[in-house]
């Protein structure tokens, strides 16, 4: 059965709209070198590399892992390229973990990145195909109707999304790596920002970022010898369902409910709200915080908004969410899921600096993608299971 595996090194670039100071290879190397340094390793210590990113059309390169492989020390080593839409960062972390959990490798490096400044994400996400009518403008165009569906069925107050946005942007001020740093962020500022895809306002949406995130994972035999804190992987899980089928609940997809149920079972968790100390959840539009609180079974169905409203998800709340500022503050799409996983690991290692949750021992990392149809999650802890 699965070998116990730990995150022993984490590296991230600063997230920003244009990393003109980097080529793609040098961007991924910044994150990878930081992860190696954190793990006190060299390139030669790595057995295999996993690279994740979202569609190749973002950068206009087909299978960029082929020429990026040696940039992350992968020459003459095994290399895999993961692509599971928006959840890809999470999936990349899960695939990397499985390389160690299977007993095949001792130490693996995974890197996920996006360099969205090379193109225009809305263009790449809405390439119009023959015979169809182009009307869905990017991810916001796709998700706004689902947000409206959630508002209708939950009866959530209309300012819930604004409150999430303010909270995440306040958290981002404590994370120097976060892309958006809005010093004067306020409720009114978000409320008065323009409606883009009604009911989603400008400041309730994620930015488009350049950036990379990397992690080094190790077998128990190696990680146990370390003197510094590592993040033990207690469980990983993935679920997918088709884009469209009759009776598909796109607001609360079965895949997320199944995913969270299986994840907690593996991790031995019966009350996630109580047993988890914090979570990094994939929230590209503010309303997805309450939606995924329900999807991850942390809040009862139609009551996720109450956690936001009561301040439970704030940095000083009883269940902090997106302490790093989340996807709302930094969104290099292909890396965003891995950042969630990495930030969860930082929390339980106690190295999250100014956005550290005091005494965090167990944390959830989450990513989703496609038409709310791909889910990848993990639970990490400062303690072995």
């Amino acid at each position: 059965m699965a070998e116990l595996t730990a995150v022993v090194g984490i590296g991230q670039t600063k997230y920003q709209s244009k990393h003109l100071d980097h080529s793609m290879p040098s961007l991924v190397r910044v994150a990878a070198e930081k992860a190696l340094a954190d793990a006190d390793c060299t390139w030669a210590d790595i057995d295999a590399v996993i690279l994740g990113k979202a569609p190749d059309m973002f950068e206009g390169v087909m299978m960029p892992e082929l020429w990026l492989n040696d940039a992350i020390g992968g020459a003459y080593k095994p290399m895999l390229r993961v692509h599971t839409a928006g959840s890809v960062g999470g999936s990349t972390g899960i695939v990397a973990a499985s390389m160690v959990q299977s007993g095949i490798h001792e130490r693996v490096l995974c890197v996920a990145f996006e360099k969205q400044s090379e193109s225009n994400a809305t263009w790449a996400l809405s390439i119009s195909m023959p015979f169809s009518l182009a009307s869905v403008a990017g991810a916001g165009g796709y998700f706004a109707p689902l947000v409206r569906g959630y508002m209708r069925r939950s009866g959530a107050p209309e300012d819930t999304g604004i409150r999430v946005a303010v909270k995440d942007r306040q958290n981002a001020l404590k994370n120097p790596l976060a892309h958006l740093q809005l010093e004067d962020i306020s409720f009114d500022m978000v409320a008065n920002s323009p409606m883009l895809w009604d009911p989603i306002r400008y400041l309730e949406t994620c930015p488009s970022s350049d950036g990379a995130c990397a992690m080094v994972m190790e077998s128990e035999a190696l990680a146990s010898k370390r003197s510094n804190k590592v993040a033990w992987i207690h469980a990983t899980e993935m679920r997918s369902e088709p884009t469209q089928f009759s009776g598909r609940d796109q607001v609360m997809p079965q895949a997320t409910l199944d995913n969270s149920k299986a994840l907690y079972k593996k991790a031995g968790i019966t009350n996630p709200r109580k047993e988890l100390d914090c979570a990094e959840i994939y929230v590209p539009f503010s309303w997805f915080e309450p939606m995924w609180m329900e999807g991850m079974r942390i809040a009862p169905i139609n009551e996720g908004w109450k956690m936001t409203y009561e301040g439970a998800t704030a940095l000083d709340g009883d269940f902090p969410v997106n302490m790093s500022g989340g996807v709302l503050s930094s969104n290099p799409i292909g890396a965003s899921g891995l950042i969630r996983f990495a930030e969860a690991a930082r929390q339980v290692r106690g190295i999250a600096d100014a956005h550290q949750v005091d005494g965090a021992k167990k944390a959830l990392g989450h990513a989703y993608g496609g038409g709310s149809q791909y889910f990848s999650t993990w639970i990490v802890s400062s303690e072995k299971p």
Partner: protein, 145 residues
């Protein structure tokens, strides 16, 4: 199946803005100024094209050295009917060229006029575009003799 599937042309067309970072910026700035820079590895050998790191070991590199604008063809292939995206409209060769002063060959185009002018081991030199912009397409090779 009564009728064949509907079919229609579909084009992907986009101009990507590739930021270069310090090493590639130095290389492409030099190209614009009609100079070629290679990257020195720790063992003294020189990579062309330059890389920000050693491809075998992953270690960072930053010592760039100027190379000659001429070299030797180590392999080649003739392209009788160039596609519109390719660097020359008339028939040409893709070749691996090892520049004098470099230890690695790199892929580029040779405007040789005809296939019988091409051979492995032949000398080629760079012919610069009238206007150089800082791109790998700022030059093509031509036979040196």
């Amino acid at each position: 199946m009564s009728e064949p599937s509907l079919t229609a042309p579909h084009q992907l067309s986009y101009t990507y803005k590739r930021s270069l970072g310090p090493v590639f910026s130095k290389f492409f700035t030099a190209l614009r100024d009609r100079k070629v820079l290679g990257m020195k590895r720790r063992d003294g050998t020189v990579l062309m094209p330059p890389k920000e790191y050693d491809p075998d070991t992953g270690e960072s590199l930053d010592e760039m050295v100027e190379l000659a604008d001429a070299g030797v063809v180590t392999s080649w292939v003739w392209v009788p009917k160039p596609r519109r995206q390719q660097p020359l409209t008339q028939p040409f060769a893709y070749a691996l060229v090892q520049l004098d002063g470099a230890d690695t060959a790199f892929l580029h185009a040779v405007d040789a006029g005809s296939e019988d002018k091409m051979s492995t081991g032949m000398r080629v030199k760079m012919r610069w575009a009238d206007e150089t912009i800082g791109a790998i397409t700022d030059f093509v090779f031509v036979p040196a003799e």
